[in-house]
């Protein structure tokens, strides 16, 4: 049992059920790895005593005869989810050391299934960014290539799963914050349908887009955990009232007759050849598995970025207003008056990217600009969603690249926000439409980028996660990209 960390969740689950390993032992394996790989900077808060107490509780539940596929399995949470037992900072100075009096629903549901929390994961501040360079607590390293960013905003989640410092991590996706870091770190990332997982306890960035999801090694692992994570939550008014689902139900479904739409617009001039080649190869794999490739068009998808950078900052400017230094969080020292306290608390507490987005959002919502920006953006958003619906009359799933390039280098785009924003070109349209979407490892870049993974994006229609996970699993049965572990973190690293 020296290399438990490279085993699949299903394998670990079987070992726990067979009592070959206890939850406490498993937690210790990961805690030890987390400690050893602190330089990765994936974790922001680790409290071994809390983790071990949760693991002991899971073992006690099993001793009382309780079963369940996730009982005793470790999980790490993106620092966007609030937790009672670990600090919840959103990777911001604003919330340094903040302890929530309640757990996010996602955290609560996974804990209810018996999962053991390893700690809280680094990310871009308030989930704003595509490279994890916006964390107030320093960037996360990409385990594949130390010079490359891990992606963002869920860079901690993708990096720790890639480095096997957690078998599964929660993450959040607003415009691509699960899929892009999953692609950059060579792990499986899933963003379910907006409204399927609860947003209660997720520190809000853009409420109409924020969706909880997962980083895992495989689609099969994701299916197990997603089944426990998603469900109706009366505390979230945008949560959809549907029964819980078993997302593993279509894992074995053959690909024969599956129609995969390939959007022309996702293979335009901006797409790097070293990304296009593995993505095309993945599409060929699907064809070989019996799927049909259908040429589709999403003509308004390219408007996704401008639309997103109106809607998301608008919502963020309002969502982040609660951080005023009055009730919790950072408060400026020695304010001269109320206005001074609010202004300085916010100026000191927020990093540059939240500040930029608050300013943009405040601007687009201002009197006289609202119609031209916000209303127009919402109209185009509807148009994009309608185009997806038209596409889904001709196909069951949509596939394409996740990003235009492989992971870029630290500092490469930090000075140019717009080029950074372009990193989400292919992921934003699906987010705007609220569609479930995944990123699957499908290869690597070329030359100097030979250690930089490439992701294949799948997009399904609303609530069609099970079919998407089935297709992802079938691809992963036929390939082993998802089984690759970065050097220094695999079986040898025990």
């Amino acid at each position: 049992m020296s290399a438990l960390h490279v085993e699949s969740l299903a394998a670990l689950s079987r070992r726990l059920a067979a009592r070959e390993v206890s939850a406490v032992e498993l937690a210790r394996v990961y805690l030890e790895r987390i400690e050893r790989h602190r330089a990765l900077n994936g974790y922001l808060d680790v409290r071994p005593e809390v983790t071990l107490a949760q693991a002991a509780a899971a073992d006690a539940r099993r001793a009382r005869g309780e079963t369940g596929p996730l009982l005793g399995l470790p999980v790490a949470h993106k620092d966007i989810f609030v937790t009672r037992e670990f600090a919840s900072t959103a990777a911001s100075r604003m919330l340094e050391g903040y302890m929530s009096p309640f757990d996010a629903t996602v955290v609560e549901r996974l804990a209810g299934a018996g999962m053991v929390t390893l700690g809280k994961l680094n990310c871009d501040e308030f989930a704003m960014g595509s490279s994890n360079e916006n964390s107030a607590y320093g960037p996360v390293a990409n385990p594949w290539d130390a010079a490359a960013v891990p992606g963002g905003s869920s860079g901690g989640s993708s990096a720790v799963v890639a480095a096997r410092l957690a078998p599964v991590a929660t993450a959040t996706d607003t415009g691509g914050s699960i899929r892009e870091p999953a692609a950059f770190c060579g792990v499986t990332g899933i963003k379910p349908t907006y409204g399927r997982p609860s947003r209660w306890g997720m520190i809000a960035f853009a409420s109409s887009l924020d969706t909880a999801g997962l980083m895992t090694v495989s689609a099969e692992d994701a299916a197990w955990v997603l089944s426990a994570m998603c469900g109706f939550d009366p505390r979230d008014s945008t949560s959809v009232d549907r029964p819980d689902e078993d997302y593993t139900r279509d894992l074995q479904r053959p690909m024969d007759g599956l129609r995969i739409g390939v959007p022309r617009e996702f293979f335009g001039a901006g797409l790097a050849a070293e990304v296009e080649r593995p993505v095309r190869a993945a599409l060929e794999t699907y064809r070989a598995l019996g799927a049909t490739l259908v040429d589709i068009s999403l003509p308004s998808a390219e408007l996704g970025i401008p639309v997103y950078y109106v809607v998301a900052p608008a919502e963020c400017s309002s969502n982040l207003s609660r951080f005023d230094g009055v009730r919790y969080g950072h408060r400026a020292k020695d304010p001269v008056d109320l206005l001074d306290m609010i202004k300085r608390s916010r100026a000191e507490g927020f990093g540059p990217e939240p500040r930029r987005r608050i300013l943009v959002g405040t601007y687009v919502l201002s009197h006289g600009y609202y119609d031209a920006y916000y209303i127009k953006a919402q109209q185009v958003r509807r148009l994009i969603a309608e185009e997806f619906q038209r596409a889904f009359t001709r196909c069951d799933l949509i596939a394409g690249p996740v990003t235009t390039t492989v992971a870029f280098g630290f500092g490469e785009k930090a000075a140019d926000p717009v080029s950074m924003y372009m990193a989400d070109l292919y992921t934003i349209p699906g987010s705007l439409a609220g569609l479930p979407s995944m990123s699957l490892p499908c290869g690597f870049g070329e030359g100097a980028h030979a250690m930089r993974p490439v992701g294949l994006q799948l997009i399904a229609n609303h609530f069609d996660e099970a079919r998407m996970l089935g297709a992802a699993h079938q691809y992963q049965l036929a390939t082993d990209w998802h089984r690759r572990v970065p050097a220094g973190f695999g079986a040898e690293d025990a």
């Binding site: 309640f102 947003r199 209660w200 809000a204 109409s208 008014s237 945008t238 005023d324 609010i342 009197h367």
Partner: protein
């Protein structure tokens, strides 16, 4: 001397914040009860902790629908909650959730009676623009913190219905304009308490009026308006509007211009003073709240509530006048609250149809008289009256059928109030209060009194009516108050040949 403000027309529109009577807040499960320790009723949602989300209280929506139905408004099948963004320490989220572009209640009107001093009452109808749901803010406490401010978020998230009128009060008489505004506000207050959608407690801030006041030359274009806030009693409202209209008139007449601004009424000084002008008006950056779905109201939900809608005070006043022949004063008094109207109808019903209009009038008199006085001195609400409608009806029946006279009836009422017996008949028997209507016995008493009071008899014959009353008094005294006064009168007049 000219009447102050002569030659000017005052135009008023009103905005009223009505606190809805839900047990919990509009977007959280925290209690709305008044008077708790600061922040004891602030949940994680009210505190706007990271990660919390609002969930709409359906009870608040039902109350808004009831109101809309009562004023004949359109209930929007789809309305939208928006965020009104601004920073203030007692606004925890940095925005207030309110309805902006699409409110739940659209249109409607409210009619009332205005009684000018020394004039005839007249009907006044004010059109409503809208009524929308929103949350209240918390409170900043500036005393007791040695230079710091305290924040109490108990009130944050309390459900409010903001009711906005058209500027339909347009009167070329300052006092009269204020009177119409107050009449509207009273009618609205009665309606929301009648519907049970608000406790209407003005001291606790459950019913808060703001008045938009402007002045113009009759027929001229609308003037610039000022909004007066803090009108937390009807008396202050009257005073504040008069003061503000005269202030604007004086300003214009002395060559100045009215600046659009929000003014606060200070009842201690009877003046309004500027809070903020339009120049510092904030840009609230309204946009639909992405945490809340649009509020969809199905037609069958509206119909289900329409069935629950009680008879409204206006309709009830008309019915009382029609069915019982009661005057305006009685009708208005009986419909002051829904509870008093219910007490009245229950008492009339217990009295039975035989009593007719006389019975209804009698019930109204008792309710305005001894019952009102007793409730008042005991500080009790009519629903908690120790004398039930059935008991009061039993008492009134004995007056109407001549068993007891009015004086005895008041004694019986006091005994019923004190709980000495469960019905009037038992008390009448126990105390021997049955009035003497036996003409033989009364004749004997009358004769004895005439014989014993020759001086009074002489005076009466000399034309002094007072002397007659003295003789009646003597007979009543002889009967220990039990003589039938009408009969005594009759007998005396017959004997004295008057």
């Amino acid at each position: 001397m000219a009447v102050p403000g002569a030659g000017w027309e005052v135009v008023i529109g009103l905005e009223t914040h009505v606190q809805l009577s839900t047990a919990s807040k509009i977007f959280s499960g925290a209690s709305t009860a008044f008077g708790a320790e600061p922040n004891a009723q602030a949940s994680v949602v009210d505190l706007a902790l990271p990660g919390v989300l609002p969930v709409l209280n359906r009870g608040a929506v039902e109350r808004a629908i009831l109101f809309g139905l009562a004023v004949g408004a359109t209930i929007a099948p789809r309305s939208v909650f928006a965020r009104k963004n601004y920073f203030y320490p007692d606004l925890p989220k940095g925005y207030q959730i309110s309805q902006y572009e699409i409110p739940v209640v659209q249109g409607g009107s409210l009619s009332t009676w205005v009684t000018p001093r020394g004039g005839e009452p007249y009907a006044k109808t004010v059109r409503l623009t809208r009524a929308h749901l929103e949350e209240d803010a918390g409170k900043s406490l500036h005393e007791d913190f040695a230079g710091l401010s305290g924040i109490d978020l108990n009130r944050a998230g309390t459900p409010l219905l903001e009711i906005v009128t058209e500027p339909d009060i347009q009167v070329a008489d300052v006092e009269r304009a204020a009177l119409e505004a107050v009449a509207y506000a009273r009618e609205l207050h009665q309606l929301v308490t009648w519907l049970g959608i608000s406790d209407g407690n003005m001291q606790e801030g459950s019913f808060r009026c703001d008045a938009n006041v402007s002045v113009r030359r009759p027929g001229g274009p609308l003037g610039t308006r000022c909004e007066i806030k803090n009108l937390n009693s009807f008396r202050f409202m009257q005073q504040a509007i008069v003061h503000e209209a005269l202030r604007q008139i004086d300003l214009i007449e002395s060559g100045g211009t009215v600046v659009q601004e929000t003014r606060l009424y200070d009842p201690d000084r009877d003046e309004t003073r500027s809070m903020r002008s339009k120049e510092d008006a904030m840009d609230y950056r309204y946009f639909p709240d992405p945490d809340l779905l649009p509020l969809e109201i199905a037609p069958d939900q509206v119909e289900a509530l329409r069935v629950k809608l009680p008879e409204l005070p206006g309709a009830m006043r008309e019915r009382f006048a029609r069915e019982y022949g009661l005057g305006d004063y009685d009708c208005a008094l009986l419909t002051t609250t829904r509870a008093s109207a219910q007490y009245f109808t229950a008492t009339v019903a217990a009295l039975g149809a035989v009593a007719g209009d006389r019975g209804a009038k009698s019930v109204a008199n008792w309710m305005a008289g001894d019952l009102a006085a007793a409730l008042n001195s005991a500080q009790r609400d009519i629903v908690d009256s120790p004398v039930s409608p059935v008991q009061l009806a039993g008492l009134i029946a004995r007056v109407l059928d001549g068993t007891i006279n009015q004086k005895a009836a008041r004694e019986v009422f006091a005994a019923l109030w004190a709980g000495e017996a469960s019905d009037a008949d038992a008390l009448i028997e126990a105390r021997g209060l049955r009035q003497i209507s036996d003409s033989g016995a009364l004749e004997a008493m009358v004769d004895a009194v005439i014989a014993a009071n020759p001086k009074s008899v002489e005076e009466f014959r000399a034309g002094k009516e007072k002397a007659f009353n003295a003789l009646v008094g003597q007979v009543m005294k002889q009967s220990r108050g039990k003589a039938n006064p009408a009969q005594v009168n009759e007998l005396l007049r017959a004997r004295l040949g008057g």
